[in-house]
Point group: D2
Chain length 141, copies 4
Amino acid sequence: MGEDERAATIAAHMLAAEGTGPAWQIAIEEARAGYARIRMALRRDMLNGHGTAHGGMIFALADTAFAYACNSRDVKTVAAQASIVFLDAAREGEVLVAEAREQALVGRSGVYNVTVRTQEGRAIAEFQGFSRSVGGSVIGE
Amino acid sequence: MGEDERAATIAAHMLAAEGTGPAWQIAIEEARAGYARIRMALRRDMLNGHGTAHGGMIFALADTAFAYACNSRDVKTVAAQASIVFLDAAREGEVLVAEAREQALVGRSGVYNVTVRTQEGRAIAEFQGFSRSVGGSVIGE
Amino acid sequence: MGEDERAATIAAHMLAAEGTGPAWQIAIEEARAGYARIRMALRRDMLNGHGTAHGGMIFALADTAFAYACNSRDVKTVAAQASIVFLDAAREGEVLVAEAREQALVGRSGVYNVTVRTQEGRAIAEFQGFSRSVGGSVIGE
Amino acid sequence: MGEDERAATIAAHMLAAEGTGPAWQIAIEEARAGYARIRMALRRDMLNGHGTAHGGMIFALADTAFAYACNSRDVKTVAAQASIVFLDAAREGEVLVAEAREQALVGRSGVYNVTVRTQEGRAIAEFQGFSRSVGGSVIGE
């Protein structure tokens, strides 16, 4: 199994094992070593009082892409910190796409930049996640 | 109506109007001017593949407390940016409490520090949110 | 030596040992366990092209207070990450005061909130720093 | 004058006008629309007590590249917020290179990712800056 194939297996495994991904109806578009792109359609229960996507759900989507990307090399890795800038509102029914790219990997630390856009390409948020590996395999064997 | 009473009215109004708060079964413990403390019990659909609280849900709780606090003076205000540090894992059934405090308010910009702990006081995360007011009343009149 | 007295000794020791503090003419106003308050006068070589304090110098001051506070318990500790919100401009000759407070300490991780104000109390920036201890004494013995 | 040529003129103008760039002996390697790459050699007065680059100076370098990149379109723009992850230590005499790339530009808001490496390519820090334009030309005319 090549490293990109393994990364795709890991992302699918993580999505199946977690409570959140299925609850949020997250779909994986692409996962490879150091990279993940996922999408989520905005439902009414993901909106704030203004009828736009709750910042918590935008973050949750970005954080999920970050998790798949930082675990993609099959070393169990957790989020230590993350920062997000909110650029525009998104509405019910819009599909958000989060794309996570590995920016640096130094010892146990990693940095991943995640872009959140609508499916049509409108910028919604930018996210930077800081990960720490904790050791062990993600998919076991 | 005093400013603390108004802040409590605003928080209750926001919780009722949003899709997320009821979906996450968020309860307001206290809301006053520049301050909000809320809680949420961790359900299975809020967990990651390790069986602990998904970082997205921890952020979402903190972000909700931040939203109530930064709108507490009845000027519509949105999140521009936020940063979170994850300190410990939380498990299904545990109740998380997020406490948001206004740290600075300069023109249209505000900074709020939010602490997330379990009900027993174990530290889970620290959050700092940067808000920008957009004008208009939150509760209308 | 009590823990607050030791913290003051550590801060003075760190300031004397570093290249930056003397170069920036940083003065320690108060240092105790989990806390540091320091000041710095803005010189021409600390300004950006608009004639106001360069964001890098505002951060550097906050980061220095953070370093003294997170090392105050005599366990060598380094910055893993930090975030800053810029609230207002400061001018040449103004004295900036950075006040760092320990917000959480969990295992090897710490979170410190740092407020930067002018000596007159005008809010300039809010900072949140995430530290990791690396072990060993700061002042040796 | 093309947009990349104008960006190079702006960066040179900003470096000449500010107190910090000359004081830190910053050199511009490349500046074009939405992009800036600069370098700085680490001097003794930029080190912390461990004899490695002070986090404040690493941030200051990244923040300077961010400033040149976010002003590159000749609309005066300031930093609203920034976050940095520290990945490795750097020593006296090492040359640090900061490379800023525009990640998003939505209305008055921009997001820039900045990578800080040694000249040999060792990763030192990752930075994400959030800018707000304030209007007016940077170089005047």
